[in-house]
């Protein structure tokens, strides 16, 4: 790891090349640039997750950390290429005036002609697509459940500013649930009449899952609170009886279906690196996510307008 203080983009870029030559080969096998924007205290964890996710998708990983915005601008960087790992990393700290122009630092460091992903592990801009860094990217990844404040509203904010290329890790978290629920209906003839989702009181994933079910099944989906962890129960009511998928320990789920024995199935809560790796697998806009956030916005508008009517 090389420390560069009071540096600039071209010095960082030179350091990348120098480090690679030192490691023995200037060849690059990287397929994308992954930028994450994070505060100092979360930087190390985010870098770990990004590095581990980019084992699957070798990337140049750029961590951008904003410091105090007052005073003269300064760019500091730690540059490294991992051993036993194909990517390269730079942790870039911006203080002073330059912290208002992070894109000017990042732009020269993007790998030529390959996808760019921006990930906000905790605090995300309200509108990622118009964010200066977000604009550089084809894929913008937020995480509503990790928002430092007003968690309950974070998901809705992301829904309202949705633009193609945006996705949220709350959505990634429910892939396993969605896969099992879809599979449970594969051989099932009768129609779902209503559904319910129980989860921790604040759970962006559960909100998305409810919206997805409501959108796909065209039924009312009740959202209730439980002790968690995360999502605990999903029930699809049909004429023949309920199909339910429950998970109380965050590891093992039980699928029950009318006329079938209860079947256990592994459904682990995945760590950030795994979620990120799933996100990086496909970099085109996720249309189903787009439909789901649209539905979630609509549903929440309906509830707010009905509650205002009551009062």
């Amino acid at each position: 790891m090389i420390e560069l203080t009071g540096t600039n983009s071209s010095a960082i870029a030179e350091e990348f090349v120098r480090a690679r030559r030192k490691a023995g080969s200037p060849a690059m096998g990287m397929v994308m640039t992954l930028i994450f924007v994070v505060s100092e205290e979360d930087a190390e964890d985010a870098m770990q997750a990004a590095r581990s996710a980019s084992r699957e998708h070798p990337a140049r990983v750029l961590g951008v950390i904003f410091g105090d915005a007052r005073g003269a601008g300064q760019v500091d960087a730690q540059v490294g290429i991992g051993s036993g790992w194909t990517g390269e990393t730079a942790m870039i700290r911006l203080t002073g005036e330059v912290s208002k122009h992070p894109e000017s630092v990042v732009l020269p460091l993007l790998l030529p002609d390959s996808p760019v992903v921006v990930w906000w592990p905790t605090k995300a801009p309200e509108n990622p697509a118009t964010d200066p860094l977000g604009q550089l990217a084809n894929r913008r990844i937020t995480d509503a459940s990790a928002a430092p404040r007003s968690k309950a509203k974070a998901m809705l904010t992301q829904c309202e500013t949705y633009a193609p290329g945006n996705t949220d890790l709350a959505w990634t978290r429910i892939t396993g649930w969605r896969a099992l629920l879809a599979a449970s209906l594969d051989k099932f003839e009768s129609k779902v009449t209503s559904a319910s989702v129980a989860a921790e009181r604040i759970s962006p994933s559960a909100d998305l899952l409810s919206a997805w079910l409501a959108d796909r099944l065209k039924v009312k989906v009740t959202r209730t609170s439980s002790k968690g962890p995360g999502i605990t129960d999903v029930v699809l009511d049909t004429k023949e009886g309920p199909i339910s998928l429950v998970r109380y320990d965050g590891k093992l789920a039980m699928l029950s279906s009318p006329g079938q024995p209860d079947r256990p199935v592994a459904l682990k809560r995945r760590d950030i690196a795994e979620l990120l790796a799933e996100e990086l697998r496909r970099l085109d806009p996720d249309d189903i996510y787009a439909q789901t956030v649209k539905k979630l916005s609509k549903l929440s508008q309906a509830t707010t307008s009905s509650s205002t009517k009551k009062s």
């Binding site: 896969a179 099992l180 093992l252 592994a266 682990k268 790796a277 996720d286 189903i288």
Partner: protein, 506 residues
């Protein structure tokens, strides 16, 4: 059948999870089942790709209870699985383990198997969907398949399926291949038969297709105008190990050329299919295999040999005839090299050299497309002395990837050009921690996805190519020998030298 409202082709994030089903493995005590199959089942479960209630039935001639079987699977999973071992995944998976003890000719055992499967349908909800994996020597195929039929295990009830998985070798010549087909197709319809070649995984096949047909820059030069010849190599550094019983009398040509190398050749040489479904692909591959012609002189353009004792990678190893259980008189070849021509306009006069062997320099499988030299080089002869032919090498394993060899000026010298290689390893780059061939395969079987593996017609065409060569070898002389740890016999070098070419050192 209703359309599932939760599914949408746009939703590419959702993995396909097979419907309720189970897998029955015959020959569960064998090496392949323990090292590959069972770990792959666990890895699939761990990645959440197996259906809830998935069941695994082992069938073998051991006096085991279900728990003993579970312990064997546990050990093999711990040792060989590529994903992390998680207790809760293991728990739910192991609840679906059953063991049936018996001989392949034992009626009672198969009755037992039927009972076990019916129980599983009730207890685990497998719904009558079962795949039978024959991880057993081919001589038992007819017994097992006959028994499956007799005990009503091969015929699914309505709305369920029964499938059978057969591993190579698919016969040992045209006749036995047809016989095998007769046995299987008499019981299972062709869409329920999965002839698998674990070696040529779907990932590999799809990678080759992507390279050839998703790119604009390779296809224009992929023909006799630019290609000088093609070399396909499958080298192993190991000997026959403990597989004397299987290997002796089979040999390199039957063991790998018939299936792997000819399949690879077909994928490299075929025209662009109209779509990438299994059927269109098969049609194109069949056209290639059908237009292969053998050299007139099999004595000059084939080579076969046995490894002699020697040093392989710093270890002293015995020769083929010194291996345990190999008779002194054995004429089985452990190395085979052949030259083939494909009579199509695309490949007119472009020979394909295929070689395969054991105890060679190192373990490698690759396809090298060697291009013609550029005509009329505007350089002096001395400046291009070190420049050979451009080549595009598709490495299949290990470290899957692509190497391109081309000429570049040597820095600093006046004007000297030498070969340089540019390497792309998608092993490290693009695979999602490389879904092992077996996982893809088992998943395809459970999903009923038409496999990209060869079907009967291709198998027969391959034998038609190989049979005359093997017959010729049987009639004429003994195999040559080569020192272990080298790149094969001198006869193979002479064979390619006759055309003024040399083997690549892979």
């Amino acid at each position: 059948m209703n359309v599932n409202p939760l599914r949408d082709p746009q939703d590419r994030r959702l993995p396909q999870i097979a419907g309720p089903c189970g897998l029955v493995i015959f020959g569960v005590t064998g090496d392949r089942a323990r090292k590959k199959l069972m770990p792959a089942v666990y890895d699939l479960a761990n990645r959440g790709l197996l259906p809830p209630g998935f069941s695994l039935v082992g069938f073998a001639r051991r006096d085991w209870a279900d728990q003993d079987f579970a312990r064997i699977v546990h050990d093999s999973v711990k040792e060989h699985a590529r994903t992390e071992f998680r207790e809760e995944v293991w728990q739910q998976l192991s609840e679906g383990f059953r063991f049936v003890s018996g001989d392949f000719s034992d009626d009672l055992a198969f009755e037992n198997l039927r009972q076990t499967i019916e129980d599983l349908d009730k207890v685990r909800g497998t719904d009558g969907n079962h795949a039978f994996y024959l991880s057993i020597p081919p001589r038992f195929f007819s017994d097992v398949i006959g028994q499956l039929k007799e005990h009503g295990l091969a015929t699914p009830s309505e709305e369920s399926w029964r499938r059978v998985v057969v591993e190579k070798p698919f016969g040992s010549n045209l006749e036995t291949a047809r016989e095998l087909n007769r046995i299987i197709s008499g019981v299972f319809p062709s869409e329920s038969v999965f002839l698998i070649d674990h070696y040529l995984g779907k990932e590999t096949v799809q990678n080759i297709l992507a390279l050839r047909f998703a790119n604009a820059m390779f296809e224009p030069i992929w023909n006799a105008n630019y290609v000088d010849h093609v070399q396909i190599t499958m080298a192993e550094d190991i000997g026959i190990g403990g597989r004397a019983g299987y290997y002796d009398g089979i040999g390199a040509a039957r063991d790998v050329i018939q299936n792997h190398l000819l399949q690879l050749m077909a994928l490299i040489a075929m025209e662009e299919p109209t779509s990438f479904d299994a059927k269109s692909l098969r049609i194109e591959k069949q056209k290639v295999l059908g237009s292969v012609v053998l050299p007139q002189r099999l004595d000059l353009y084939t080579a076969h040999a046995q490894y002699a004792e020697g040093w392989s990678g710093g270890i002293k190893v015995p020769g083929y005839k010194q291996e345990p259980d190999i008779p002194d008189t054995s004429r089985t070849e452990t190395f085979a090299a052949i030259k083939l021509n494909i009579e199509t306009r695309r490949w007119a006069n472009v020979p394909f050299y295929l070689r395969a062997g054991k105890r060679l320099g190192r373990r490698v499988t690759e396809v090298a497309v060697v291009f013609k030299r550029a005509p009329h080089l505007p350089f002096t002869d001395t400046s291009t002395e070190e420049l050979t032919q451009n080549a595009l090498v598709i490495r299949i394993q290990p470290d899957e990837g692509i190497t391109i060899r081309f000429g570049s000026k040597v820095p600093g010298t006046a004007m000297e050009i030498r070969d340089v290689s540019m390497d792309f390893a998608y092993g490290g780059s693009f695979t999602e921690t490389s879904p092992e061939a077996y996982e893809r395969l088992i998943l395809d079987v459970l999903l009923g996805e038409p496999p990209l593996f060869p079907q009967q017609k291709e198998v027969e065409l391959s034998w038609k190519i190989l049979d005359p060569i093997i017959e010729y070898w049987a009639k004429h002389g003994k195999p040559d020998t080569y020192e272990s740890g080298t790149w094969g016999p001198t006869s193979a070098d002479k064979m390619i030298a006759r055309d003024g070419r040399v083997w690549r050192r892979p």
